[in-house]
């Protein structure tokens, strides 16, 4: 299975980078260096962002689900993605920050803020209903505040950017932006992956984990902080993208026989593949208006989300 994932990742990356082939061939005909220029300056940031952001959503989704002991926790449902968008918008449009790293920090701050709010509202070991309600409430509020912040921003054109912030976009991002997002996100994700074993032990229950020497409170805080940094940095460049953080961990756990901590790595690979394919689908649809990639992820994710809810119902009933 591992081999299949790696192969899928390579294929998805290659497809996302090279398709459509025609413009590259045309550029090649004009000047060989031109095709390279387009590939490196235009296509590469886009592909790196799609793969990296997808991996972050998978890994942090799995980590949050392990820490909250709930298969429905995820960056979007917990409000982290919306909070990150709010942070980045305020930082960029109101505080006038232009450096991509500064914006990444604002995104991380926004995500941490909403996750802390969620912990305060729902508590760490909340049942599904409480967690969902609190998370959705925070998510909706943050989304609305983001739209408001854009509408009232100094620039009159800010409001038209709302679509990109709330539903995600990878078009015309530069290498600098990709680096500003993916370097902090990468570091945070690696630190998350190192906690796989501890998160697996958390599955035995907080008490047992504590007796083994894992500190559940501290682990949860670390997971929240690292997830917020990773998701926040990505959102600051590409906007909030939903459902991948819910679906990829679920699929990841099916490959690790249910272990929530070990699932972070396969979830990251699956998330990367899903998001790259979603963005590829978006680019293949030829319309005047660009469709935000969040629309496609919602189309993929909603049926799976509904199925998850139904299986949870069955599990609670038995």
């Amino acid at each position: 299975m591992r081999a299949a994932l790696v192969l899928g990742l390579i294929l998805a990356a290659a497809a996302h980078l090279l398709l459509p082939l025609t413009p590259l061939r045309e550029a090649q005909a004009i000047d060989p260096d031109l095709a390279d220029l387009i590939l490196v300056q235009l296509r590469l940031p886009r592909t790196l962002l799609a793969l990296g952001y997808g991996a972050v959503l998978g890994a942090s989704g799995a980590a949050l689900q392990a820490a909250f002991a709930n298969p429905l926790a995820s960056p979007d449902i917990s409000g982290a993605s919306s909070g990150a968008a709010l942070g980045a918008v305020i930082g960029g449009y109101w505080l006038g920050l232009t450096q991509p790293l500064a914006l990444a920090a604002c995104g991380a701050a926004g995500a941490i803020g909403t996750l802390l709010l969620l912990m305060g509202l729902a508590g760490r070991r909340a049942d599904t209903a409480t967690l969902l309600l609190a998370g959705l409430a925070i998510s909706l509020a943050a989304g609305a505040l983001t739209s408001l912040a854009l509408a009232l921003a100094p620039s009159p054109f800010a409001f038209y950017d709302a679509f990109d912030w709330l539903m995600g976009s990878f078009t015309d991002r530069s290498l600098v932006q990709a680096a500003a997002a993916l370097i902090p996100a990468g570091i945070a994700t690696v630190l998350l992956l190192r906690r796989a074993k501890a998160l697996d032990l958390l599955a035995l229950g907080e008490d047992v984990a504590a007796s083994i020497g894992v500190r559940p409170g501290r682990l949860s805080v670390e997971v929240i902080a690292l997830s917020a940094i990773a998701v926040g940095a990505c959102v600051s460049v590409a906007g909030a993208i939903g459902f991948i953080g819910l679906v990829a961990p679920f699929l990841g756990r099916s490959l690790t026989r249910g272990h929530p901590g070990r699932a972070m790595l396969p979830a990251a690979a699956i998330g990367a593949i899903l998001l790259a394919l979603a963005d590829l689908a978006v680019r293949s649809i030829h319309l005047d208006r660009p469709i935000p990639v969040g629309v496609i992820t919602a189309l993929i994710g909603t049926p799976l989300f509904l199925w998850l809810v139904l299986t949870m119902r069955r599990r609670l009933a038995s």
């Binding site: 031109l34 387009i38 300056q41 620039s155 054109f157 800010a158 950017d161």
Partner: protein
């Protein structure tokens, strides 16, 4: 007829109000200070108007009849209709209205200049501007392939009045699909001349971030920064822009 309007008409003092930024330009160029009742809010905003310092000397209106009335005008200038209702209501109140068309060509702008000068009582006031225009028209430089680039890659139509102005400076605006330049196109076939608008450059938006992308500044093009503000209306203020561009080459 309301009391103040009839009094003013009787006294012969002209007070003109302009309801949008593009008509403000004519007024600010041609009217004497005592003749100017109010200009729209945008003409007092440095982000939107290059004449903002001049505009700040006068009261503002919010672009509608109601807010203009407070400054007691007896002549109203609107553009593109300004709502049929405005002219009708203004008429009922004894206010004269001049409605200028949206300029499709530079000739339209010249006609509007004469018309406003006439309404102010002295058509010769437009002479200076018209003189500058004819000098520009005398020997335009040979046209070169050019693209005007605004936030998000938005450009101007190849047959628009903006393109006609560019022609007077020796730039031929390229025909672009959807009126927008893409990063691929700029990389693959960079224009000889790239006019980069600095409109609202310090205000963040995704469109401004687009302009920071390396491919939006092609090394093969000569990039000239232009003040984007006069380009919004592409009206009489463009004379200064074109003169400056001609001199820069």
């Amino acid at each position: 007829m309301p009391a103040f309007a009839s009094l003013l008409a009787a006294s012969g003092v002209l007070r003109v109000a302009s309801l949008n930024m593009c008509t403000d330009e004519y007024l600010l160029l041609l009217a004497r200070p005592r003749e100017l009742a109010s200009v729209s809010r945008l003409s007092r905003d440095p982000a939107d108007s290059s004449l903002w310092r001049l505009g700040r000397r006068f009261p503002e209106n919010r672009g509608d009849l109601e807010s203009a009335l407070g400054t007691r005008p007896n002549l109203l200038i609107t553009m593109g209709g300004g709502g049929k209702a405005t002219a009708m209501i203004a008429g009922k109140m004894g206010l004269k209205t001049i409605d200028l068309p949206f300029p499709a060509t530079i000739q339209d702008i010249a006609s509007s200049m004469r018309r406003v000068a006439r309404a102010l009582g002295d058509e010769s006031r437009a002479q200076a501007w018209l003189g500058r225009l004819s000098r520009l028209r005398q020997a335009p430089p040979a046209p070169r392939d050019a693209i005007y680039l605004g936030a998000g890659g938005n450009s101007v139509g190849a047959r628009s009045v903006e393109a006609e102005w560019m022609g007077l400076a020796g730039f031929r605006q390229r025909t672009l699909p959807g009126g927008r330049a893409s990063l691929e196109m700029l990389a693959t076939t960079p224009p000889k001349i790239l006019l980069r608008s600095t409109y609202r450059r310090n205000e963040r938006s995704l469109g401004q971030t687009w302009l920071d992308h390396p491919l939006a500044q092609p090394t093969a093009s000569r990039i000239i920064a232009v003040d984007g503000r006069p380009w919004t209306c592409a009206g009489p203020l463009m004379i200064g822009e074109i003169e400056r561009l001609r001199a820069a080459l």
